[in-house]
């Protein structure tokens, strides 16, 4: 338990400075989610998903690390631990728990993680609601893959097509790791767009595979 508290104390908010504890009025370090004097939980400050989970802001992140951080913070803020506390503390802990869930669900998904990192830079991946893109090369490729999905009528054809699309997904994820590491956000936005289309194609291929006669789930 001591380890978890240490983690949360050092990485809870990422801000510097202090604020008065809402319960005992003691000045509390902004980085600490708990008052060092009375131990009461402090309201969450504006933050980002990486800080919320105590992770560096890198695109490449290991699943193990993400899971470990997530479950660690979940234990710290789990509403069950606040069940006997006053309503305000329960409400605050629930806010933390919701933020952490949101952070985990965003960061564990390679596409959402990329789009989130771009949003932190003020870049909205083209095609937010209503936007259209005219990147002929990408769109030709997407059109062609869509046609192949519609045209595939044996399990073998569909399996090799799905392998091809999933390889594109994997390649885009690797490329994102590289361009984010170089802080090349323009290229990251392009690759994220590609990943968005490829992810969508992968879902469509999976759906179509399920409706082939004699299909097997894989």
């Amino acid at each position: 338990m001591a380890t978890i508290d240490n983690t949360s104390r050092s990485q809870g908010t990422g801000a510097s400075g202090s604020r008065p504890c809402w319960s005992c009025n003691e000045e509390v370090n902004l980085r600490s989610p708990f008052c060092h004097l009375c131990g009461v939980i402090q309201p969450p400050l504006p933050s980002d998903h990486f800080v919320r989970l105590g992770l560096p802001r890198n695109y490449d992140l290991s699943d193990d690390n993400l899971e470990r951080q997530y479950f660690g913070f979940q234990r710290t803020y789990h509403p069950d631990r606040f069940a006997q506390k006053p309503p305000r503390e329960q409400a605050i802990s629930m806010e933390y728990a919701a933020n952490i869930n949101d952070a985990y669900n965003t960061l564990r998904n390679p596409l959402l993680r990329a789009e989130y990192m771009l949003r932190l830079q003020g870049i909205e991946v083209a095609g937010g609601d209503g936007d259209t893109v005219a990147d002929p090369e990408l769109l030709m490729e997407v059109m062609e893959l869509n046609e192949l999905i519609v045209g595939a009528n044996t399990i073998d054809q569909m399996t090799s097509l799905r392998e091809r699309i999933n390889a594109e997904v994997a390649a885009s994820e690797i490329a994102l790791g590289v361009v984010f590491a170089e802080n090349d956000f323009d290229r990251a936005a392009n690759v994220a767009l590609r990943l968005r289309y490829m992810t969508r194609l992968s879902e469509q291929a999976q759906q179509s595979a399920g409706s082939l006669p004699g299909n097997r789930k894989n």
Binding site: A126, G127, G130, T132, A134, L139, V142, M143, Q204
Partner: protein
């Protein structure tokens, strides 16, 4: 969410599905995508020597509203001059099909597609007359 009869009609019986020869100098091709929903739309026009669109084809991978919007646009532009076709607005498409607000972007896609097809056609004309 209930869809209009016109929308369902275009969705169930899409008009002008197919492709025209992209390499033909009289054919303009517009290819646009809406990544928010993963839609991709190809719209092609063939223009005769009088500047009138004599044929239009589309291929759309996307939701029913995107398919209906592109089907409707191909129907509308046939027999129109290129200049007339260029004035088609997404709001007219959306109104005709009674698209629900969350599907307005499908009509935007169709407007962008016809504009892109016209731009491609004009590029070809400019190139051949230079």
């Amino acid at each position: 969410m209930s869809y209009s009869d016109k929308l369902l009609d275009h969705y169930d019986n899409p008009r002008n599905v197919g492709s025209l020869d992209k390499a033909d100098d009289n054919v303009g091709t517009g290819l646009v995508g809406a990544p928010a929903c993963g839609d991709v739309m190809k719209l092609q026009i063939r223009v005769n020597d009088d500047g009138v669109i004599e044929d239009a084809k589309f291929k759309t991978f996307g939701c029913g509203s995107a398919i209906a919007s592109s089907s409707l646009v191909t129907e509308w532009v046939k027999g129109k001059s290129v200049d007339e076709a260029e004035t088609i607005k997404n709001t007219e498409i959306a109104a005709h099909l009674a698209l629900p607000p969350v599907k307005i972007h499908c009509s935007v896609l169709a407007e962008d597609a016809i504009k892109a097809a016209i731009a491609d056609y004009r590029n070809k004309v400019d190139r051949t007359t230079e």
